[in-house]
Amino acid sequence: MSTTAAAVSTPAPASRPLWRRLIGFNLLTAVLLGIGGYYLGWFIGHQIKGSSFHNQVPSSENDVALLLAYFFGVIGFLIGLGFANYPVSRMLGRPASLREKEQEGWGRYFGLCTDHKVVGIQYLIGIGVFFFIGGLNAMLIRAELLHNTPTFVGPGQYISLVGMHGTMMMGMMTSGILGPFANYFVPIMIGARRMAFPRIEALTFWLLMAAGFILTSTIFFGGFPTGWTGYEPLNDQAVMGMDSYICFFALVGISMCLLGLNMMATIITMRAPGLTWSRLPIFVWSVFATSVLMVLAAPMLVATLLMAALDRTINTSFFITGGGGSSYLFENLFWFFGHPEVYILALPGFGIVLELLPVFTRKPLWGYRLAVSGMLGVSLMSFFVWQHHLFVSGINADLRPFYMLSTEIISIPTGFIFMCVMGTLWKARTSFTVPMLFCLGWTFNFLIGGLSGVFLSDTPSDTTTHGSFFVMAHFHYTIMGGLIFTFFAAIYYWIPKMTGLRFNERLAKLHFWLMFVAFNSTFLPLFVLGMKGQPRRVSEYAPNLHGLNVWVSISAFVLGFSMLIFLANAVYSLIFVRLKAEQNPWRSKSIEWQVPTPVPVNNFEQIPVFDSDPYEYGVPLTVGPGQTAPAGA
């Protein structure tokens, strides 16, 4: 697996005529083969339907056909992109060689590219698009909740919107930070020239795009009524749109698992000389902790969804009580994945905050080991708490004290992160740049999210708050306030590195303040609404809660508007005006800021040698420069 061949320049492909360039393994072929595969699967599905082994479904419904159509569509899409070339040539015994990296040009962003920096940008744009689709769903949900009876959309469309919003965000945003930023920066931060498995890296991105497209296509098949949890037996009862959900989440699960595997293999094997575990940037540690969860939890999700798909198609009875199944089984399996999932969303945020704080406070990271053990602790503990989602379901009610305990215990390692944030801020020289503001926003939001989690982890209190808007507010504080705020922090922080351009700072600050205020104005009242008895996912609520709901809806629209400011800023600063950024605008000591911008294809001319962690800020206390105590001491 040699990567060094890329130094040899290839003749510019621009010399070929346009029609010739359209033929080959590219996005156009992929889309055509995807559509072809889709109709092939649809056709086969209808042939099978002739033998009719799922006879209790209305004739217009054919889950076998739709699932096969999605399956063949994805396969065709991947073949069209060129993902089959390598496996087939290996099968024929041809030697392994990395596909030549395209040196330059826009073409590489629209196809299979094994350059981790290109994949990072692809992820950023791709996930951004689906993030905005998911956000648009949220706007529609809040528009409906302007009135306490269904007016704007019907109840069926409403629960589909709720499901699509939830599933899109929980699915696509699992890779929200790992996709763009870890792919782009982890190899650079550890002094490597590539990821361990560049083809798998590209595959995770294109799988995710196919998945997002499939989820969006659910609107053509009647949507799905289950929300992102997909509970059985409602899942089994639902119309064909449910298959989109199953297919989406299974693909996301595979993508997640491969992404985590690739990240872990890269971090374990490809660190440059001198970069010991105790010198690893904290962001890389958070990626590592997240990857552990991705590799182990995601397969559980895939297995669960495969069982659900079998229940829907060939009438197995995993979750159907009539045939010997159990709906509890689904709840157990789903949340065994589902709880690690929420930490998959939260942990990269911890990493971003702790990575950025030293830069802007001009201090070393305070309590490096505490932060690492916090992240690994959260990661490990998250496998032991899943039944706190089921406190009132009647599952293993005798075990509730145990799950209460384990859930409370998980707040200890989370507290470590706060300790590190506060320690780093102590006597700091803080510059309130936009990324720093988002990090401070995270600290406040995650605090509220964490403290409200205490109420949910306590069964007596959870009896009222469970399944209400309280839960909804809680996890929006941890995920939107945790993940999305750090997502934006990372964008503002690293865009100068990724593009050589920067954002207009005034607009960026406006974006932060509007987003922060609107976010809190949206979700703080939801705690009250939940405590006053409004269940989640309802299009009709008690009339006395109307005023507060209108308030929340208007705040939500402002929150949506703040995203438009971001978008406008991106278009204005990065496309039209093209504000040039300095080489190292934040005066960071981390290695990614020391390589040239744009980063060369091979990142480094020579593999760097590390002699400390990247947090050598501040004025040493007793020893002179260059003699500081080793990192983590």
Binding site: T321, I412, M419, A428, L447, S461, T463
Partner: protein, 288 residues
Amino acid sequence: MSSNPATSPAELAGEPNHARRFGLTWLIATVIATPLVIVLLGPILPPGKATEQAAGQVTDNTVLLGMATPVLLLVVIYLVYASIFFRQPKGGVLEGPAVRGDARIQTTWIVVTSLLVLSLAGYGTVRLLADNGAGSGSGPTPLTVPAGPKLPVQVIAQQWAFTYRYPTYGGVETPHLVLPVGKMIELHVTSLDVIHSFWAYQLGVKADANPQIDNIAFVKPTKVQSFEVRCAELCGLWHGEMFDHGRVVTEAEFETWIHEQQTRFAAATKSLPPYSTTYQPEPTRRGG
């Protein structure tokens, strides 16, 4: 902590004792705010005191809020304090002190947070067991069962309505829930199709209705009042419309009401399947 050579000597001399100042601010804020929160917010915390279980939850919520307030204040005041006093001067390039940790502070933090969360878990467990499940669905064989006589009431959820059966009154099935005050009620929650959740807000009861599962919750109403019933688990198209009102009435009123129901639904009761803790769901797989 230490001197900072990067700052000018004049500033160094005037450096206040930040630790003491911050600590005092937090302490004063906590001493003022915590009792205020408990006294002002405690009484209005959900779900009210209409039942023993609901009152227990209010106590629980108050304790949690009382414990959360100092933590909230600690971090928020810290953020504000740090934002005001630990700034980079405009256009400055000053460096902070190169402190990488403090074993004593870290140990204290770990010990304090551990004690805090362990005591919370212990307290939650005690409340859960003392209140006989605190109104939550506790499965077919609850760990703690209240002593004394109990009135069994079955809650049957289906898309998209709740109905109620009173097995001790001939298994009559009623469309609304009426309960006698001052009696321990044993709610058996089950479903005929998908998962629902029976949420009687003012009673402080929430129990998932699972097909083929008998989920038991105990509740003892202490006040005559009406209460709201809602479905709290997404159950399909009309999930949002799945609500109803119930009443807690005096025992005499209850007896009158139940006998009225028995006569009114006499014919319907005969055609119902005999009372059972769970019912076989309809065989259809696609309904909603």
